[in-house]
Symmetry: C2
């Protein structure tokens, strides 16, 4: 066995008693913020990793966090949420239990059940695209932070992409490159009436309009299209934009797949990217954005940062009631060759 740092050494390093160290380790509420911070710093400085078996036997905290997702498999690039969550958890000597429900409610509830049996200290519930969700049953009393999704009534804390910010900066990037006629092939919602508004669609559209307004460019509705995201539809909307009496010189696409089809449609029209038409995507799916010729300038969804934020917020609020705030993180521009 390697030599382990003891609680006594942490107490000495932090200038507190061993009882305080023990309380911090066991997530006990009656510790002042200052002492908690000093103990946490000492733990980090001494690379202390609590023995989970010992903690478990004395009824302490489990050091486990549950990570529940709905459909990583269908939106694989969103796994960066897991990576972000993991990196913060490990820095705090905690481990992630990961369960992917594949959108199956029964599985999600079973996962919550198993997480409870394992005495997880909190749960990150992550959706693979930004939308309102309903949490599975059985989470009452278990600290839960939502990542890339939110409750309609905002009664639990959540972290989401700032869609307005992304739409605003995508449009601004085109304007800064000298464009005035900027097309927008937005995502399209099948049942606008039946479902709550998806923030990606309306947030980005608001950002697009605001950026135009801030640069004294009048909004022209004929430039703002909605595609149902089939390759055919994406292609057709590009053709329609380019067939306008005053066609755009730049096209902002609601995701990288739309941009991929936009490239094809422009190529068939004999138009070069970016010399004839600039193209901006959204999502930064590496396989597409780095694979296209020319490579695609696009907006980064903050998956990694949302995962980090969610776990950070859980850990900061250990043993306290969490404020149900909603935080929106920026979607920065990833500049490549298409603008």
């Amino acid at each position: 066995m390697e030599t382990r740092v003891t609680i006594k050494e942490i107490a000495r390093h932090a200038g507190v008693g061993t009882t305080t160290v023990s309380r911090v380790l066991n997530n006990h509420p009656y510790v002042s913020d200052d002492k908690r911070r000093r103990v946490e710093e000492a733990i980090a400085a001494l690379h202390y990793r609590p023995s989970q078996t010992a903690r478990h036997l004395r009824g302490g905290s489990s050091g486990l966090l549950g990570f529940l997702t709905d459909d990583v498999a269908t939106t694989p690039y969103a796994v960066d949420i897991i990576r972000g969550a993991q990196d913060v958890a490990w820095a705090h000597h905690m481990v992630l239990l990961v369960a992917d429900s594949g959108g199956n409610t029964h599985f999600a509830e079973a996962a919550v059940d198993v997480f409870r049996e394992r005495a997880v200290e909190g749960i990150v519930y992550a959706a693979m695209y930004h939308r309102p969700v309903q949490l599975p049953a059985g989470l009452d009393g278990l600290p839960t932070v939502l990542a890339n999704c939110f409750l309609e009534d905002r009664s639990a804390p959540s972290v989401v992409p700032d869609e307005f910010d992304g739409g605003y900066h995508a449009t601004t990037a085109a304007i800064n490159a000298g464009h005035q006629r900027i097309g927008f092939i937005n995502l399209w919602e099948e049942n606008k009436a039946a479902t709550p508004p998806f923030p990606a669609i309306y947030g980005r559209l608001r950002g697009y309009r605001q950026a135009l307004q801030d640069h004294d460019i009048p909004y022209d509705g004929s430039l703002a299209h909605f595609s149902n995201q089939t390759p055919q539809s994406n292609y057709r909307h590009t053709q329609e934009l380019m067939a306008l009496p005053q066609p755009p010189t730049a096209i902002f696409c609601g995701n990288d797949k739309i941009a991929m089809n936009c490239y094809s449609a422009l190529a068939e029209l004999g138009l070069r990217v970016p010399q004839d038409v600039a193209v901006i995507g959204y999502d930064n799916i590496a396989h597409i954005a780095e694979g296209l010729l020319p490579t695609l300038t696009t907006m980064q969804l903050p998956h990694y940062e949302m995962g980090k934020w969610a776990v950070q917020y859980l850990i900061e609020n250990r043993g306290r009631t969490m404020e149900p705030l909603q935080v929106a993180l920026p979607c920065p521009l990833v500049a490549r060759e298409s603008v």
Copy 2:
């Protein structure tokens, strides 16, 4: 509390004594295969989920498996390995602890350390592309199965894609569609001398040649190219193939990204897919294969199945010495519109 199935009920259902049930649950080696199977079937039939706390306290098995990956983040579609592993683990009432090392050896070793502290019953070590790997230190004596990778000396069990099978069936699909001149834009290895051969490159090339031979089509080296996988290189190799005195009527691409650039190069030459040139990809990255116009016929990497196999093999061999066999799973054709 819900009513729980007891060990007594399982024993009655399986027709064995409670001691045998307890031994199976605690991964004790002295249980016959037949009794172990009967107990496992009873556990499944009765939807029994052992209380982890009780098992832990009596020194039993942890019900945990460690899943260690090198770089999910950079090859996100390979997360299906995690999903396959999870689905089998959950069917056996086991939970996955997931750690993504990002290729950092220090992190990988720390993860093994944490997995040991948590008393995981086994480890799946997954690489995100098929290649030989070295395992992190500290795994001695811990049952480990490799997925999508293998040890050079084959001293641990592993499950990998059958690259020969994929190359063979991709080529056969083109031949069956009436093609005799079939180009191949293979993956390219930067340091052929310095690194061990990557099975994807040489296995698929062998499959390509065997399929030609089985259909009495002579191998023509001028049709077999290697691309360094930059968009420019993929594009240029397509142009070179189409500039041959006898250009191919079908092109087999070493991955879907190559196929994406191949489409662009063909479009610029005024050639239609599949009417003028058929295209086949490899990997089945949904975002690309379903997003291209026309949609891409490609070969499925068996990520989900490899994850399943690895955990299945760990569970089947609980408490025994595992045979270090290497299993290669087929890469089936996903037929779409490009052939």
